[in-house]
Symmetry: C3
Subunit: 261 residues, 3 copies
Amino acid sequence: MKLWKHIEHLRNTAPLVHNITNFVVMNNSANALLAVGASPIMAHAKEEIPEMVQISNALVINIGTLDSSFIEGMLLAAQTAHSLGKPWVLDPVGAGVTELRNSTIQRLLEFKPTLIRGNASEIAAVSTSQGIKSKGVDSSMDSAEAVEYAKELHLKIGSIICISGATDYVISEEQIYEIKNGDPMMTKVTGLGCSLTAVLGAVLGASGKDPEAIASAVAYFGMAGEQAAGPGSLQLHLLDQLYAMDQSTFEERLKLWNYTW
Amino acid sequence: MKLWKHIEHLRNTAPLVHNITNFVVMNNSANALLAVGASPIMAHAKEEIPEMVQISNALVINIGTLDSSFIEGMLLAAQTAHSLGKPWVLDPVGAGVTELRNSTIQRLLEFKPTLIRGNASEIAAVSTSQGIKSKGVDSSMDSAEAVEYAKELHLKIGSIICISGATDYVISEEQIYEIKNGDPMMTKVTGLGCSLTAVLGAVLGASGKDPEAIASAVAYFGMAGEQAAGPGSLQLHLLDQLYAMDQSTFEERLKLWNYTW
Amino acid sequence: MKLWKHIEHLRNTAPLVHNITNFVVMNNSANALLAVGASPIMAHAKEEIPEMVQISNALVINIGTLDSSFIEGMLLAAQTAHSLGKPWVLDPVGAGVTELRNSTIQRLLEFKPTLIRGNASEIAAVSTSQGIKSKGVDSSMDSAEAVEYAKELHLKIGSIICISGATDYVISEEQIYEIKNGDPMMTKVTGLGCSLTAVLGAVLGASGKDPEAIASAVAYFGMAGEQAAGPGSLQLHLLDQLYAMDQSTFEERLKLWNYTW
């Protein structure tokens, strides 16, 4: 596999990515998008959402900090993307934690996200909400434990599923990518999962629904976070590395495997 | 006094802290909580606030950027915490500056915050709003000048009072802690007071209403901010230091005294 | 020209700057203001806007993330500043992209901003919306191409116009300042244009409607961003440099020219 081509293609395509995301990570997500060569739009007003979705190459919806006006905007954006055939990614932050989050996810899934990215317990909670039999969900669940949920969720709604954790998984039809890039310190910085979701939105804008391109970007993001002394310096180095990463570093550090399921 | 045990206890307990805070500092507050070993939840929708307060170990309310929907959410959260007996901390940002802030603080105080943290003029303004006789409030007030206000405020509503400034004070029944950790450069970075409030929320979640634990965390936060060349590098080093601080550094750098009043 | 005096005056005056800005950059803007010696207020609730405008030395309005409640607040703030004779700056983020942005800008212009700062395509779009004949607008427009628009816009509404790009321009009655400080890496960090707008708001608060002071601050901001290895480190160094800049560095690095038009 020559995966670096996907990162180059992302940088050369410079997709325009429309984000409706949470207040905590808006700044980080925009910076991560700029660092990988994409152009971020952060906009949530219902009045301008259809125009924004129309001009963008991809849409990112992240439900980290909900309120009723954001929910309306998210539904309108997802519906517009779906009807225009634009790729979009859902980050179901806090799935399973409150009724509001579960019901919002339920309504968003009607518009068929191209990709869903979350941690193990979020993916399990989304699956359970779709009638997939619960095997028990807890917040300290391991990413490997969510793989079976992800397969069933993929079969049911067709979205590519990305599970983040110490090991990351990208699951699509009969294929599974396993990625071991990243660092435990990444759990000590807020919004890195959300930033990854935004970057995957950019990949959708550049490459469409391509599991290999998505898995490559998961590895790229993970290795950009591998060198830091603490959570403050990690944020800085992550952006610098996303920007500066070259092919030889990428190929040396890559820890990615591909299987059929 | 062996104060390091409070920091260790905070890290070992890993409390879940629900924050309803201002838009400017949501990211910093979440990162400060992660760096000290706590788990942040940032959520403000009325529909999910009772569930969030229920699962959390402590609540943080910061009125930095108000609007009517946030005010409703804050009141509901404070009421829920109060009725469940969960500890909560109030950061009365801009107390005394506008009528909206004063009236919001007034309503929040009905739900008896476990702790109130602010600068001298904010603590004086909160006190005055509670009928405590004004000795004159101005924004350049020294933290020592607010100590008498804080004592009266404590006697009146029972909250522990933390005053931030060049010298910090933690005031509770008959006790006063005086802390001289910190650096003047910390006034050149936005949201550090708000981040400290969030960290003190975590301390409430780990140790309950314990003035010694609160004073220890004030010193810990101050010393984490003591080494930086400028406001940009201070933000980075603060997070790295909150994460990496060890007992010997803590004990060497500690500038804390305890008196009876 | 001895331009350093304007930076010194800004630091000595320490203006209070009220910001109604977008969610993505609130933190950066507040930090940039602190780093240049100003005091930021970030507040958007209609209930307290008149009080906030009253106590501030200048107002910053940035339409990056609109919604109906923010629009109402912005209009009230601009109206209050205009009727009190307080200087204010408009950052028309995304002008020309959606109908909502165009109509909001149109309404804000009735309150005569002291200064408008944007990139070339934004300045061209604002001009076109004021009936100035379109020469064709596209988002990759060069800043030099917007100069003719800016002159006509200045003649029509009286605002000083600042165009940001590889070369920056400050345009006022018969005068044009051309500034070549800055670094291409600055386009890879979100919110730097917004932070510059906030800093220019501080300059208005310190020096009033003075094109030379504004041009000096544009150069100062640009040179603070000139040394960084990547987008993460640029954010850090920018704040450290805004804070630490001294007269000799400023004079050595200055790339600014002044013409009559």
